[in-house]
């Protein structure tokens, strides 16, 4: 009984520790400015959507959000287009040097991707894609692509090769068999990893801030605007950064857990 109560108490403390900052920033973003600056008022008497609205409408937040979505979309697209064949070969073929290739791709994950921003800027100026969303997307792809290769190869590897071989025996080519037999089976897992890839790009701030001036993604926009904006806009910005990511996590939590190798049974 005591043990049970203690467990519950610890669980509540942990939940409190992780949830409080999230609850507070959402609350702050909804607090009227007068009440925020009133030191004697801890909880606001009324809530307002004004900060969020002006961040979106007058401070360019909406455009930055669309930019972020485009950047993430392009890098996910390229990553899967380039990454799936490699992931397929890693799981379905046996060949010399396979482990070295896998290790090399794994090692790029330990590469500090943020440093590529500076040299890429000079390159982009030369080839005329500086301050474009495509430029940011390509930079983000170098971070997302190795992730997609590794995670997809583990997802595809989780589907027995015999399903695909059965497809080939019963009349499909290798490619058709992958698309029509294996693809439907791996699609949920790939979708979950695409969502995670989306969050990687959505959250990346350093490279995006360096590569763009006019076409800023949301975090890059916030990074620059936050320095000068009043506090309540910062909270509104923090909230719109956090909410989509949290919604994604919520809807894909089961798949994400299995991607991380956590069993829920």
């Amino acid at each position: 009984m005591i043990k049970k109560a203690l467990t519950l108490l610890i669980a509540i403390l942990i939940a409190f520790w992780f949830l409080t900052p999230i609850v507070l920033i959402v609350l702050s973003s909804l607090t009227p400015s007068a009440e925020y600056y009133d030191p004697h008022r801890i909880l606001p008497r009324s809530l307002t959507l004004n900060h969020l609205r002006s961040l979106f409408v007058t401070l360019g937040g909406w455009r930055a959000t669309l930019n972020s979505i485009q950047v993430a979309g392009i890098s996910i697209g390229i990553s899967f287009l380039f990454g799936l064949p490699a992931a397929y070969a890693l799981t379905r073929f046996v060949f010399r040097g396979k482990n070295s290739i896998r290790l090399a791709i794994l090692l790029t994950r330990s590469f500090p991707v943020l440093i590529i921003g500076i040299p890429l800027l000079t390159l982009y100026m030369r080839i005329g894609i500086s301050d474009t969303l495509l430029g940011v997307a390509l930079a983000h792809t170098s971070m997302v692509l190795p992730f997609v290769v590794l995670i997809s190869s583990s997802i595809i590897g989780g589907i027995s090769v015999e399903y695909e071989e059965a497809g080939m025996i019963f009349g499909l080519s290798r490619f058709a068999s992958f698309m029509r037999i294996t693809m439907p089976l791996v699609l949920p897992g790939l979708a979950a990893s695409a969502i995670f890839a989306f969050i990687m790009s959505w959250n990346e701030v350093f490279v995006a801030a360096i590569l763009t001036v006019g076409n800023r993604t949301l975090p890059a926009h916030i990074l620059n605007a936050a320095m000068t904006a009043p506090d309540y806009f910062k909270f509104a910005a923090g909230t719109i950064m956090a909410v989509p990511a949290m919604i994604f996590i919520f809807f894909t939590r089961k798949y994400l857990m299995s991607l991380w190798g956590i069993s829920l049974k």
Binding site: P85, P119, V205, G238, W260
Partner: protein, 284 residues
Amino acid sequence: MTYKKGITPYLYFIPVIAFLIMFLGYPLIETFRLAFTHPTEPLGNFLRVTRTGEMWKALRYTLMISAIVVPAQLVFALALALFINMRFKGYLFLLYIISIPLALSDVSAALMSYSIFSPSGYVNKILMNLGMADSPIYFFGRGFETRAFWVIVITEIWRATPLVFVILLAGLQSVNKEYLEAADIFGFSRWTKLRKIILPILKPAILSALLIRTLFAFQIFGVAWLLTGRDIPILAGEAYYWQSIRYNSNVAASYGLVIALISIIISWIYLIVLRSREVEGARA
């Protein structure tokens, strides 16, 4: 599995490898070039920021933050993972709550911290309402560097503990229950079980979590930059400052190079540790 010889399997990797050479390999070389390009002396860019002590300061702060944050995350995450792995009623719900910060960016984490520690933030509101402070306590700005430092540390611990946690929990779940049952039969205490059975089996997971976290700790940017600007200088923040505010790509690249070199050294140490573990395994 199909055995393939000849060039066919390698064709599947051409897009990936070409892309990574273009967008990781080339920038890395270019970073070297930029860092060592200076009108008068090759090391000029470095000297410019080492003579003033800026780079040493940024390096020192980055190291200090890493040295506190990484071990704290590890201990905290291990405790969380052990707790969740007890599988009490409702543990799944808590598991999801813990995993929320995984999706949050450093930018939103910084702003969350700011809502708590700003002059009109919740900490000050509560203290002033309780009469424990007459005027706001400042956590940020000139002269408050120590406080700002600890806010950064707490924020980083809050934000990135879940990443370590999921790696450790996955590792913990792979511990064969029969080992623990055997330990129970032989009357091991909880502490002995943890030290003699769980931790050794968990070692690979701990090592990889350590590697990932250390690498990312040296790339800390958003939290420190948004909360303190250059009051608490860190390596990535200085790179950003020199690039975006001073428009000097060469000095910025020098900072980038320092981060890259540290990452390479850490990965290298990790590979050595891993290899020596393999040798141990081969002997046993």
